[in-house]
Symmetry: D3
Subunit: 282 residues, 6 copies
C-alpha cells in the first residue's frame, strides 16, 4: 500500500520519541517593513536540502548520527502578530516539555520571540546568543512593538540586562546602539570577541538565534534587507559550530531566508548547510 | 535654483486646488495570504507610467485634459491592519471633503475598505461596482475579519444588501457563493450583464473597485494569486470606460498589482494603461 | 505528539483505501532535448496548489467530493530512461490492481509510456486521447527510440492503428504528419472535432494524456518548448471536462510543466487548476 | 579536419549564390528611450531557433524549400545612429544588388530606416506595409530626428504621401495621429482593412516592416515598450502570410524583440516562428 | 492640503540654500557597448535607499548631520552623447557656482566627463582620483571618441599628465596600459598604494569618480560588464572614506549600477551604502 | 560576398592547422541529479566572451599570442550517456592525433570521462589534476555507474591508484572519503598543498579538469549544485595558472557552468575569464 507524501529536511526522519531535536517552521513575515518573502523560507530549505550531502567534512560526522524529527510548518494566522507568536510559543513549549530541543526555521526574525517566551519559562536564567546584521533593539517601529526590528528588545524584557550577546551587528539607528551599550553585549561587524562570550556563557541555558543576514549579501543575497559588509559563510559556520559545541543550547533558530530574492538557489543552499552543521554540532 | 525630485503618475501634475481627481497610494499587503508584494504596486505604477503616452486612441482624449493631482503614498504602519485602514480612510475623507474624487492605488484589496468607509459616510446610499477574480465575501479568513479575502463582506456591512455588483468572479469557497446569492449581485467569469448593472446603478453614488486579477494571468501575471480563466485587457478596459462614463463614480481604486512577479513589466504597463483610461473617462 | 510533515495536492487527503483516484508524480526530464526542467513540475504543482480554492465554480462541485490520495513522487534513477519507465509502470500497475484510477503528474511527456504500458496490460483495447502541441510521432530522435518526441509512436506500438486521437497539434516534422495520416487521428491547432472523437470513444477504455504545452505560451509559458498558436485555458478546461465526463477514463496524466521558466507562477497555477478540474470531473 | 563554429537561423544554410533571401542582423538599440535590450534580439532568435521545427503545418511547407543565407550580425558602432544606419544601408544595398531579398532582424525599429534607404534607391516607387503598436510618426523625439519613435516619419520623407500603410497602431501622441491622417494610411488596433491594403499594394514594390510589439504583451512580453491591447500570434501570422503571398515584397524586417525581458523564452519562440512563417511564405 | 509626491535619496531633504552637497542623477547609457541598463541606476538608488539606516556604525555619524539636497535626475536626450554631456555639465556648473559640491549618480561612466568639464573650469588644477575595474583610457572605441571606454582619456585631455590616479584596474587592452604608463598613475587590482596617492593629492582640488564595478561581481553583480577579481565592499568603503576625509574633494560621482542585472537587490543596497558613507564622510 | 555567421570564443580564430589548442564543447547534462542546465554552458561562454578583453593584466599577455581554434559544440544524442561519451572521446582523439591540445568545455562533469579515455590511450601514464567542490568518487549513483557523481571513480579505473590529485573538495558522502584515502590524493576545502602536487606531477602527462563549482557560490552561483565554502576567483585563477605553467598538460576541461541560474551573467564572466587565463597560460 502506498504512503502519503512526506517531505522533511534531509535525513531528519527519526521517530518523534527518539528524536533529540525537533525542527519546526514558522512561515511568517507580516511585520517585514522592506521586502517580504521569508514566509517561503521553511519549505524552500526543506525542499532544497536534497541537493546536500548528509556528511559534513568539516565535523567528520553525518547528519543521521543525530536523531532529528521534522514536525513541519505551523499554520499561522495572517495580520497582527500576536496570534502567530502564541502558536509558535505553543509548539516550542510542547517540544521542550518532551525534553527535546526545539529548532525553529523562520520566517522573519520576530518569530524568535515566540520561541524565547517558551524557553524562558522553562529556563528562567535564559541567555541569548544572537548573530545578526541588525541590532533589532528598537523599542517600537512606526508605532509597532511587535516588529522584526524590535525582537531583541522584546526578548530583553524577558531575560533582563546583560544576558544577550550580539555579534556581526552593522546596522541600526543611533538610539539602538546608545540603548544597547548599557543593556546588552553588542559586537560590531564580525565575531571578534566570541571566545570571551562563549566563556561567559558556559554552563548557562542558552538560546541561539541566527539571522542569516549576518552574512554578506554576496554570500546570502536571498534576504529581505541585504546589508553589505557582513561575514563569510565559513566565519558563520565556525562561530555556530563553536557555540553549539561549547554551550548548553536549549533552543535555537535560523531565520530571514527569503528564497525568491536569490533565483540561483545559492542562498537556500547556504541556509541548508548552516542548518546541517548546527544539527550535527548540537 | 534646483527643485526637489517630484515623481507623479504621468501627466498628473495639476495644482491640488484645480484637481478634479486626487491619486493616493496605499502600499499595504500584510494580510496577503499566498504571495505578498502588492506594497510595491503604487511606486511601480508611478515609475513605469513614463513608458506610456498621454493620449488614448480609444477615447480620442489626452490625460492632461483632466486635472489630476498625485498626492503620493500614505506611510502605513506595519502589522495589524486597523491602523493602516484608518490612515487610508483619513486620506480619502480629506479628498472627499475638498469635493474631489479620491482614486486609490493599492496594495492588497483590503485597502478598499478604508476608502469605502470614508465614501459611505459622505454618501450613505453608496453602491459598489466590483471587478475581481475572487468573490472576497468570506466572513473571516483563518480567524481574521480584516483580510483581503473578506473585504467585500466588510463593505457589505456598510452598504447593506443589494448594493454590491460583482463581475468576473471565478474563485471562492462554496460558502461565499452561497452567502452572496442573497446579499450581493455576482456575475461569474466575465462582464455579461454589465449593461443591466449600469442601468440599475445610474444616478446612484458608486464606488468603483477594480482588482486587476480579474484579468487572465496571461495578460496580468504580476499579482499574488493568479486565477486562470479571466478577462482580456480590452474587455476590462471597455467595462471600466463604460462604467466611468455612465455612472456617478464618487471614488475609485485599482489594486493587487504585485510587480515583482512579472519581470517583463507587462503587468505594470497594463495597470498604468487601465489607470490612464479610467482617469480620462472619469 | 507531533506529526511528520505531509505535503499533498490540495484537498487530496483521503485514505488510500477509500480513494477512487491516486496521484503520483514522475519528476523525470532526461530525454528533454531543448530545455530541461519538468522534473520540478510535480513538487511545484503540489506546493502551489495551496493558492487554489477547493471549489470549482465551473462545475459547481468541490475537490473534496472526490476521494483522492496523493502518493507522492517516484524516486527515479537518472540517465537512460528504461529504468525510469519501469518504475512508473510498476506504480501505475499497483494502483490499477487496487481498482483505482492512476493520475500521473510529469515530468516530460515520455513518462506517459510507463503508465500506458500498465494500462494496456489491464485494458487490451486501450484507446488514447492526446492533447498536445507536438505530434510526438517520430520513430526516433537523434537515434533514441525512448524520447519525449517519440512517445505517442511508442504508445501506438502498444495500441495499434486508429486508437489514438490527437488534438491541438501544431508542431512536428513532415514525416510525422505523413505517418500519422494513416495510423492515428490527428486534429491540428485546436479542439475542432472533439465531439466526434468523444462519440467514437464512448464506452472504450481511454487513457487521457494532456501535454500542457497544448495551451498557448501566453497562457502557459512555463514549459520546455513553447509553441505559439495554442489554445486558451478555457478551451482546454472545457475539452478536458467534456472528456472526463463523457468517457470511461481508466488512467490519465498531465505533464510538461517546467515551473522555473515562468517566475510569475501563473503556469503552475494553470496546471493546478487543470488538475483540480480533471479530478472533480473524473 | 574540424570546422569553425557556424551558427545560423535554423535551416538557413544555403550557399550565398543560390540563396533567394539573405538574413542579416542589426543589434542596435541606442535610441531606445524606455528600456534598452533589442541588441540581444538577433543572436537570441538565431540561437533559440533550434527549438523549432522546419515544417510549417500552417502552410504545409518546410523552411528548407526556400534557399536562405544567414549573413550574421553587422558590427555596429555605438553612440549616434548615423554610422549604424549607414552600415545597415550598405549591407542591404549589397544584397539587393545581388538580386536577393534582404531580411533584416533588429534591433530597435530605427534600423528599418537603413534598409528602406537602400530599397528606395533601387525601387523609387517603394511602398511600405507597417505592422506596429506605435505610429512612430513623430517629427522628432526630445530633439532627436533619428529615433525609433520617428522612423516611419523619416521613411515617409523618402517615399512621399500615401505610400505607407500602418496596422495595429494603438499608441502615439495626438500630433502623430493628426499628421498621419493626411500623409499615411493608419488602421488602429488590428488588421481590419488589410484586404483593401493588399489590393491597393498589389504589383507595387513593397517593404514589409514588422515591429513585433504589434502583438499583445501577453503573447510577446519580451519587448521594450509593452502596449496592452494588441493582436494575437495567429492574427499576426495570418496577416504576414497574406502579405508575403499576395505582394511583391522587395525587402523585409522583423524587430523589437528584447529577449531578456521575457525569461520564459516564449517571446523569442514567437519571433522565431514569425520569421519561419515569413521566410516560407516569401 | 496634500503635497506632491517627492522622492529623494534617504535623509537628503535639506533646503537647497543650506545644502553643502547636491545630488543629481544622469540616467544615461547610450554608449554602453556590452549590456545597457545603467539608466535605471539613479531611480533605483533613490528608491531602495529606504531599506537603509541613516546612521553609519563605521563612522559613528548620521547622514542627516550633513545637509544634502537631491535635485533629481536630468532629463537627457537620447542618441549621440554630446547633448547629454552638455546637460550634465550645465547642472554641475550651476551647483559649483552656488558653492556646493555636486555629487553625480550615473548612468554609464561617460557621464563623468560632463561633470569633470564643469569642475576643471572652476578648478584648473583639477586632479582625479579614479576607482574602477577598467582603465577607460582608449583613444576611441569602434571609432567613437565619446564612449564609456574612453572617459578617462577624455578627462586626461582636460587635466594633462600626471593628474589622474587610478586604483583597482584589472581590465583593458594592451595599448591602454602602454599609454597609461607615461600619462597617468595606474595601480592594478586593489588599493595598494592609496596612502601614497592621498599624500600626493593633499591640498589639491580633487574630483573623485567611483565606477562601482571596481568591486568583485560577487559583491556587485548588478553592472554591465562584471569583471571577476575585484575588491570587497569593505575595501572600497575604507578607500572612499579615507579619500573623502583626507582630500579636498570638489565634486564626486558614483556610477555603473545596472540594477536589473541583480534581481536580489544586493547591488543596489551596496550602491546606497557607498553613497551614504561618502555623503557622511564628505 | 557575405560570409556565414561564425561564432567562436573571443580571439580563438586561428586556422586549425596552426592551432596549438582546440576548443570543443559538450553541452550534455542528462545525468545531472539535482538541477540541470549545464548544456547551456558552452554557447553561453562563447557568446559572452565578447564582454572580455583579450589582454590579461595578470600574465601580461594577450589571448591572441596563443593560436587557438574553436571547433564548436559536438551534437550529442540524448538519454543514456554512453553514446555521448563516445562522441566526446572521438573528438578528443582526433585533436590529440593531430598533435594539439584538446580543451573541452562542459556540460556536466561526466563529459570529462570521454576526454580522459582518449588521453589515457595516448598517454598511458596519465595523471589527473582535479579542482572541484565534490569528490565525485562514488562507485554508482542510484544504480548508475556513468554519473557526474562517479566521474573521477571511473577515471581512476583508467589511471590506477595514486594518479589523481583533488583540491577544493568539500562535499561527498562518507564512503567516498573513505575510499579516496587509499586510492587518490584528496585535499579538502582549498589549494593548500598544491605546490607539493605540482612538484610530484612535474614531467608527467597531466589531464587538468576544473569543475567551476570549486569556487564559492558567491563568486559562481551559476551552477547546478552550489556548495558554500569554496575558493575565490583569484585563488582558482592562481592555481590554474600555476598548474598550466608548471606542468605538461596534455588535455584540459572546464565544466559545470549552468548559466541560467545566474541571471546577472557574473558566473559566465567568471567562466570566460578562467578559460582565457588557462588558454594564455597553456
Amino acid at each position: 500500500m502506498l504512503k502519503k507524501n512526506i517531505e522533511t529536511f534531509m535525513g531528519c526522519d527519526a521517530d518523534y520519541k527518539e528524536a533529540k531535536i525537533v525542527l519546526y517552521g514558522a512561515p511568517y513575515d507580516c511585520t517585514t517593513s522592506f521586502r517580504p518573502g521569508t514566509r517561503f523560507g521553511p519549505p524552500a530549505i526543506r525542499h532544497e536540502s536534497y541537493g546536500l550531502e548528509l556528511y559534513s567534512p568539516y565535523q567528520g560526522k553525518e547528519l543521521t548520527d543525530t536523531p532529528v524529527f521534522d514536525s513541519g510548518d505551523i499554520e499561522l494566522p495572517f495580520g497582527g502578530p500576536e496570534k502567530a507568536l502564541a502558536a509558535i510559543e505553543r509548539r516550542a513549549k510542547g517540544i521542550l516539555a518532551d525534553g527535546k530541543l526545539p529548532f525553529l526555521i523562520g520566517g522573519e526574525h520576530l518569530v524568535t520571540l515566540g520561541a524565547v517566551r517558551a524557553a524562558v519559562r522553562k529556563y528562567p536564567d535564559l541567555h541569548i546568543l544572537h548573530f545578526d546584521a541588525h541590532a533589532d533593539l528598537r523599542d517600537d517601529y512606526l508605532g509597532q512593538k511587535l516588529s522584526h526590528a524590535c525582537v531583541l528588545r522584546r526578548c530583553h524584557e524577558l531575560t533582563g540586562d546583560g544576558k544577550i550577546w550580539q555579534f556581526g551587528i552593522r546596522s541600526g539607528d543611533k538610539s539602538e546602539f546608545d540603548w544597547g551599550r548599557t543593556h546588552v553585549h553588542t559586537r560590531l561587524f564580525d565575531f571578534e570577541g566570541l571566545d570571551e562570550a562563549l566563556f561567559a556563557l558556559r554552563g548557562k541555558p542558552v538560546y541561539l538565534t541566527c539571522d542569516l543576514d549576518v552574512m554578506d549579501p554576496s554570500v546570502f543575497p536571498g534576504t529581505g534587507t541585504p546589508e553589505p559588509g557582513g561575514v563569510t559563510f565559513d566565519a558563520l559556520r565556525r562561530a555556530l559550530t563553536a557555540a553549539c559545541t561549547a554551550l548548553d543550547i536549549v533552543a535555537a533558530d535560523v531565520n530571514e531566508l527569503s528564497p525568491h530574492y536569490d533565483a540561483s538557489g545559492a542562498s537556500t543552499a547556504v541556509a541548508c548547510k548552516i542548518v546541517r552543521e548546527m544539527l550535527i554540532a548540537l
